[in-house]
């Protein structure tokens, strides 16, 4: 393979990292916020699918992409609210509720989304950052979904907020010691519901990115498990919003390797390339695990730490 071909693959992977990684970023940030407050919401897969459908439907009906984005966030928040409230009842397991929410969200989305497969909706605009280059490939790679910079800003904001603001401290306290929070007179369930709902809204933006930007239409195979991968990304990122950003880009890029290699004529092992993101997860988890300590950075109230 020539140097030019390698360069082409690299450009495609960088472009793919942003294109494919944007939904991962939003879902993992949403999950990060939820888990920091001490709950796991596996239902974000359902949130992603339902919000993608709602966003597409709202954008199509209103002919305004921003109403679509807003509706996607609100649909995500509404579904997450169900999770938040259900988990506040005594002796309810958040993982089990999450699986229920996942099935509910996808089922609802498939049912309501039937008439949305054929129409075309307005699309989220893109920022052309590649104007300096003559190469069509570079220009295409740097044509960026406007939601992506928003996601990057949100990651930075969350990172800063968790460490430096009152609400960030509150979320972390509820997530690390519910008893301490109660002793201070904080409503543990209130904070957790708020964090779950906000997380659902953020994840819903990821759904909007799927159905209104890339690939930019609604169909039932749209997510194919991306919401679940994003939940795993949070553990992989050790509950740090900025590391969620890095992980989302890594996974987006890994997903782009298969098609990029085949486009320059390296075929054959495409099933292997397509499995790369998953193999990568396993590898990094194995490399980063330690027999002497539990997952570093994990909120202490989470099921995985207790």
């Amino acid at each position: 393979m020539s140097a030019q071909a390698w360069l082409d693959v690299l450009i495609a992977v960088i472009g793919g990292a942003v294109r494919v990684g944007t939904p991962f970023l939003f879902v993992s940030l949403g999950e990060c916020l939820t888990e920091k407050a001490g709950r796991i919401n596996l239902g974000l897969e359902g949130v992603l699918v339902l919000s993608a459908m709602s966003g597409f439907g709202a954008a199509w009906l209103s002919d305004s992409v921003w109403i679509g984005v807003l509706c996607a966030g609100l649909a995500g928040a509404a579904l997450a609210l169900v999770h938040g409230v259900a988990c506040s009842l005594p002796r309810v397991n958040d993982v089990a509720v999450g699986i229920g929410i996942m099935l509910l969200g996808t089922g609802l989305a498939f049912h309501l989304g039937k008439p949305l497969m054929e129409p075309q909706a307005p699309q989220i605009p893109s920022l052309a950052l590649g104007g300096w280059s003559n190469s069509a490939a570079v220009q295409a790679a740097l044509r960026i979904n406007v939601l992506f910079p928003l996601g990057v800003a949100l990651a930075a904001l969350l990172q800063w907020g968790f460490a430096n603001t009152r609400w960030g401290l509150l979320v972390r306290m509820v997530g690390d010691s519910a008893d301490a929070a109660r002793a201070l007179g904080t409503s543990v369930n209130g904070v957790r519901i708020a964090a779950t709902v906000a997380g659902g809204f953020i994840a819903g933006l990821g759904g909007a990115s799927l159905s209104l930007y890339y690939p930019g239409s609604w169909n039932e195979g749209l997510s194919s498990g991306q919401g679940l991968i994003a939940v795993a990304l949070v553990i992989f990122a050790r509950w740090s919003p900025l590391r969620c950003l890095a992980a989302a880009l890594l996974f987006g890029g890994a997903g782009a390797i298969g098609p990029a290699l085949q486009s320059v004529g390296v075929g054959g092992a495409y099933y292997l390339f397509n499995a790369l993101p998953y193999a990568l997860t396993l590898l990094i988890l194995v490399l980063s695990c330690s027999p002497t300590r539990s997952a570093r950075g994990a909120p202490l109230e989470l099921g995985v730490s207790r």
Binding site: D8, G15, Q120, P215, Q226, S263
Partner: protein
């Protein structure tokens, strides 16, 4: 008969399980020429996917209007044990006596297993290779020679391409897919032998994000005309059009999605084989086990040319199409080499469309960039 199989269909239908169809199924001697019949259709994806499943569902909608026919449908049935349960549910609960399992992976082992348990029910599978002596008589397969329409796609694409590079986004390297890739490439290379087709396999029938990624990667490589063999071509058509590239459609017409970028397309016309099989079932004739047809039999058709198709291209493609309709054109006529330089069809050998060798194709012809 497995009575404890659970399926959503069975559950939903349990309340109405004493329908007329079930009664007739219980009393087969009551069946006569115009006997009412219940027919089941199973789709691997959504019925309105702008593609393969929609092409079947549209023909099933025509069947539904036939007098004395009751149609039951189930979509999103995976190519697993689930399809066996769905088929058994249609037979036991709805009284279906003719089933159309439409996805490639339903054939072996799923349809064969259910067919063995229900010898009085007819099974017409789409795309499989039914073999005399190997498969039971109550099963069969039908398919269309859509590679003829893909060859015409190739001719149009060959005229339209300025970079001499075409792109083909495919799901899995099964024989029908390879035959389409090869026919498309041969059609294009009949225009200009310098043309190459780069193929990307996504790994499954519906992978929207991967399909979009594949279209972008190919566009980056200078590919300027796309076609595909995935269940729902919508994402590829839209992505290619967004990149300012042209597209030849597949399964159904996607012209409405990108009117300027859409050149032409290869479409199914399933109602023709459906009619043949249903008529045989209702009149008590033996089950047609092996049903095939191409353009001239109206099993497949082509989309109307888009505005970007030049006059010379139209003339060339129309000429080939006329010969196909007259049964005087063979796509796979030697000498044909594969893309490793090995001769796969020697000089002087011609495989007509009906040739069984073509249904087990396992190579990519010269000019295709990609590996199986």
């Amino acid at each position: 008969m497995v009575r404890n199989d659970w399926s959503r269909r069975r559950w939903i239908k349990s309340a109405t399980s004493l329908g007329a169809g079930a009664l007739v199924e219980g009393w087969p001697w009551l069946a006569h020429a115009d006997a009412p019949i219940t027919i089941g259709f199973l789709y691997v994806g959504a019925r309105d996917d702008y593609g393969y499943n929609q092409s079947h569902a549209e023909a099933a909608a025509v069947v539904r209007k036939m007098a004395g026919v009751k149609v039951v449908e189930e979509e999103n049935v995976p190519e697993t044990q689930a399809v066996q349960k769905s088929m058994q549910g249609m037979i036991s609960q709805d009284g279906a006596t003719l089933l159309f399992p439409t996805s490639f992976g339903y054939f072996d082992p799923h349809m064969l297993a259910v067919a063995a348990r229900n010898p009085d029910v007819r099974f017409a599978h789409c795309g499989g290779l039914w073999t005399e002596g190997k498969h039971p008589k109550n099963t069969g397969s039908f398919f269309g020679y859509i590679d003829e329409a893909q060859y015409l796609n190739g001719v149009i694409a060959g005229h339209a391409s300025k970079s001499h590079k075409l792109g083909f986004i495919a799901a899995k390297p099964i024989p029908q897919v390879l035959r389409n890739i090869n026919a498309f490439t041969l059609g294009a290379r009949a225009v200009d032998p310098k043309i190459t087709t780069t193929v990307i396999f996504t790994g499954d029938w519906s992978m929207p994000v991967k399909e979009a990624e594949a279209a972008n990667s190919l566009a980056d490589q200078g590919i300027d005309v796309f076609t595909m063999h995935v269940d729902g071509p919508k994402v590829i058509v839209e992505t290619a059009a967004k990149r300012g590239k042209m597209v030849c459609g597949y399964h159904a017409s996607q012209a409405r999605l990108a009117p300027q970028a859409y050149l032409t397309g290869a479409e199914w016309n399933w109602i023709t084989p459906y009619r043949i099989i249903i008529d045989a079932a209702r009149s008590g004739k033996p089950h047609p086990n092996f049903v095939r047809g191409g353009l001239k039999d109206a099993f497949v058709k082509t989309s109307a040319y888009g505005p970007a198709v030049a006059e010379a291209a139209r003339k060339h493609a129309d000429g080939v199409k006329a010969r196909m309709l007259a049964g005087k054109f063979d796509i796979f006529s030697g000498e044909i080499k594969d893309n490793n330089g090995k001769v796969v069809i020697p000089k002087g050998t011609t495989h007509q469309q009906t040739a069984i060798e073509l249904e087990s194709m396992n190579y990519l012809v010269e000019g295709v960039i990609g590996k199986i």
